[in-house]
Symmetry: C2
Subunit: 115 residues, 2 copies
DNA sequence: TGTATATATAAGTATATAGTTATATACTTT
DNA sequence: AAAGTATATAACTATATACTTATATATACA
């Protein structure tokens, strides 16, 4: 009896295509352990705000990430309830931790905290 | 002590981008358990020979697959010695077996055997 | 040697993708 | 209410991608 959950090939390739971009893949790895807002990503990736926003939209459209507004900021986090989260997680496991980017942000006083 | 082997993010996204195409992803899953030649893929995917050949070239360029000529045919197989094979394998594990395509080929007498 | 089969490659084309700039929207603060 | 900050979206552009068709190459076989 085989109880392994498999993912439809079309679906899997769609997810892999989305992760097949260095910016989005790094975002996912970062979000795995830290909530981040758009302006933090702008700083981390040294990319324009619209470029970051568009990457996040793709991740959100397929519901890999959730967003939550807190005041001016919109915080993004991993959607652990995603149907294919185990698949995503098994991919992210192979990637190096990205804590340095967060530490750098904190050192520069650019980490957004709005509690 | 953390002994997990991680993959550089640039490298990982490059691999994921390659797998982020339904044809190539299915090819990889098929090759995981069966050697196949170009003309078999042409039949399975109902795609033109150059289209198949070009997908296989991308997989071969990054050394995810090996090729071996036997007479007229060139057989492709998974490169289990690829540096990132564990990563690739952990992805393919989540995909449904593609044995049906092979069985169909055999039923139609289109499976190439050249021993 | 000539013809058929299998595969690769080159060149062209349509579409997808990732960025850009400009502008709109939403919230905060004064 | 006005100005500032954070984010989203629209429109545009350059490049990448996945095909196509035409042709070249390699092997098999009569």
């Amino acid at each position: 009896m085989n109880t392994t959950v498999t993912i439809d090939l079309q679906r899997a390739s769609q997810l892999l295509k989305l992760l097949g971009d260095p910016t989005r893949l790094t975002m996912m790895k970062l979000l795995k352990s830290h909530e981040c807002c758009v302006c933090e990503f702008v700083e981390i990736f040294k990319m324009s705000q619209p470029a970051i926003s568009q990457h996040l939209r793709k991740l959100r459209d397929i519901e890999l990430v959730k967003e939550e507004r807190r005041g001016q900021w919109i915080f993004f986090s991993i959607n652990e309830n995603h149907e294919n989260y185990p698949f995503i997680q098994s991919i992210l496991e192979h990637l190096p931790e990205q804590n340095e980017s967060i530490v750098e942000l904190e050192e520069q006083g650019l980490r957004v905290c709005c509690q």
